[in-house]
Amino acid sequence: MAVKVIKKNCIGCGLCVQTCPFEALQLVEGIVEVDPDKCTNCGDCVEVCPASALELNEPPEKMSDNEVKEVEKREKIVKKIKRELEDYRGVWVFLEQFRGEIAPVSFELLGEGRKLADNLQTKLCGVLLGSGVEKLAEQALWYGADKVYLMDDPVLKDYRTETYAAGLVRLSQKYKPEIILMGATTMGRDLSGAVATELETGLTADCTELSIDESSGYLFQTRPAFGGNIMATIVCRHHRPQMATVRPRVMAMPEKDTGRTGEVVKENLGITEENVLVKVVDVIKEKKAATYLDKAEIIVAGGKGVGNKENFKILKELADLLGGTIGASRAAVEAGWIGQEYQVGQTGVTVRPKVYFAFGISGAIQHLVGMQTSDVIVAVNTAPDAPIFKVATYGIVGDLLQVVPAMTKAFKEKMGV
């Protein structure tokens, strides 16, 4: 009694192999093969197959006693794994702080984590590591946490993978959270990879959507892959915690409620400075506009259509008038017209301004994934079929060198500048 494989349909994606609770499937030469001794015809694989390459066999009228025993034995093993997973409860958000200031992405994640925790009927907890940061804990409560785990130790003054990973691993092993969320910042990406490896669990980077699957209770983690050309939903079935990172400004900032209170649980790190192999010698501020690009409310971005370095001045004039910031597509950066720190998109910065002006930007998917959550998008491009017009709130088909100066002029007149 085993599922049937329709070989011509199989695309060798391996989804079924991972889904099978009985390890009855494997890929041989890129095609799935069923081990009839292990398969119970449960149908899990049939359900996940994206290519209709598997189908259920009609169950036989009666199973032999041995077959029944075998199925029961395997079900027991699966139940045991599931029981172990049930020990893991609670949604955690790593509270990223730099010199006593919590990164906004941590609050955004508290907002998202609140929804997940409510859905799972469990607690939302913040995790705060640092030196002299105790007073920051209440902020996490204001943004939705029920509880904050705090490790306050001079060794944690500067962020270092070694000490922070050790702290988070220790807390996670002790309190067993079901989900850990972190910002996909340099710190979050550095830390999450180390922690997930230590905990031997799954980690999904740069999620754009998180939800709880109703039937399984698993965290569905959706993220762009292949430079944003594809969206993939990832699950972590048999390992806990389920870990995910989310880029800044992908989730909405929740309301702050300074009346909210909760519990702060203090824990010790147990590492002395002499044993740490990495030292932070200095931190140097880069005096560049890119610092603000990801915080800008108005972005005036230029692409290939700008034509040359000189023409960026036309964009700058409009940006200055509106109190906005200059941005650019990869094409403009690669042409050398503007620095890489201005680049918006998959390999640059993700932005979510109130208004995004896209001038001479065709709208390659790599660019769109970095700006398409902007509230309003205004596009000017000579090509009427440019993909940017598909996402633009307002578009003008025309030459930006004519349209942009005219816009600046009109703004000046209307605003009486």
């Binding site: 994606c13 391996g14 989804l15 991972q18 390890e23 890929l27 994206p50 993978t161 340099t186 550095d190 999450s192 990879g193 180390a194 490896t197 031997e200 669990t201 799954g202 980690l203 980077a205 740069d206 569905f220 762009p224 892959a225 292949f226 430079g227 050309n229 594809i230 969206m231 993939a232 990832i234 699950v235 972590c236 192999l277 932070v280 010698v281 931190v283 880069e286 890119a290 509106l322 109130k354 208004v355 998917i365 398409q372 509230d375 309003v376 205004v378 598909k390 633009a392 709130t393 307002y394 578009g395 003008i396 025309g398 030459d399 004519q402 005219a406 816009m407 009109a410 209307k414 605003m415």
Partner: protein
């Protein structure tokens, strides 16, 4: 000094699409390249070898055709290359991949201990940035990500001083070797491969290590060793397009004015 560089063969991501009818990847005709960040990692290791002496070994996990990225690395000036290739590795996620690479590096280290391991900051196909940190965690060595500049290596004391690129700032770090570094593109500029390297690369056949050669546990590799599973893939949702204000070509000035009026009237941009 022994420099080990992890490299990955990736599809040129700008060419990958989803078939909207079947929701499967269209891989046909997509060219394979060395992950661009890894190319800069190899370049940096070769530059350090030129400065401090030593050897550069590249290591990759992938199908047999991934030996192409090892040849590419030889062009850049690497001395040796190892390809970890076995059907059993197929379907590995980042946790399983970092395990296989770590086991490969450990085997390599039995012969020649390493001082520095390099990785690109992330691969352009998955963009996860997880494998580098995974290897460092498994080897229990310092992990220094987003490296922008290597100031100096003290060969006697086995220490390194370098700069990391953070949001709007750079961090100056000193660390004990051996260590693992992941690098950003601004670290260096790729140089043209000299002719002797090109010739050597064309003839080069990397060593291929399978599960026979390195010590791996079956339940830690491939699909079985991968906690994460792709539940579904789909084309990204499109944002609803809005309105084209006509007349941009015939009368740009008037059209621009209309647009500005709309933006102000709908209070998208406030008239302070």
């Amino acid at each position: 000094m022994h420099f080990v560089v992890c490299v990955k063969q990736v599809p040129d991501s700008s060419e990958v699409r989803v078939d909207p009818e079947t929701n499967t990847l269209i891989r046909e005709g997509v060219p394979s390249i060395i992950n661009p960040y890894d190319a800069h990692a190899v370049e940096e290791a070769v530059r350090l070898k030129e400065k401090y002496g030593g050897k550069v070994t590249v290591i990759s996990m992938g199908p047999p055709q991934a030996e192409e990225v090892i040849r590419k690395s030889i062009q850049f000036g690497a001395d040796e290359g190892i390809l970890l290739s076995d059907r059993k590795f197929a379907g590995s996620d980042t946790l399983a991949t970092s395990y296989v690479l770590t086991q490969g590096i450990k085997k390599l280290a039995e012969r020649e201990p390493f001082d520095l391991i390099f990785c690109g900051k992330q691969a352009i196909d998955g963009d996860t940035a997880q494998v580098g940190p995974g290897i460092a965690a498994r080897l229990k060595i310092p992990q220094l990500t987003y490296v922008l500049n290597i100031e100096e290596i003290n060969v006697e004391e086995k220490t390194i001083k370098l700069h990391r690129k953070l949001e709007g700032m750079r961090e100056v770090i000193s660390a004990k070797l051996p260590a693992l570094l992941t690098v950003v593109q601004d670290l260096n500029e790729l140089r043209y491969a000299p002719l002797p390297n090109m010739i050597r690369a064309a003839r080069y056949r990397p060593q291929v290590w399978t599960t026979e050669n390195i010590e791996v546990e079956d339940d830690k590799i491939g699909l079985n060793g991968s906690p994460t599973a792709v539940r579904k893939i789909f084309a990204p949702p499109e944002r609803e397009g809005g309105e084209i204000i006509p007349g941009g070509q015939e009368n740009p000035e008037e059209t621009a004015r209309k647009l500005v009026e709309r933006l102000l009237k709908e209070e998208i941009i406030a008239d302070k």
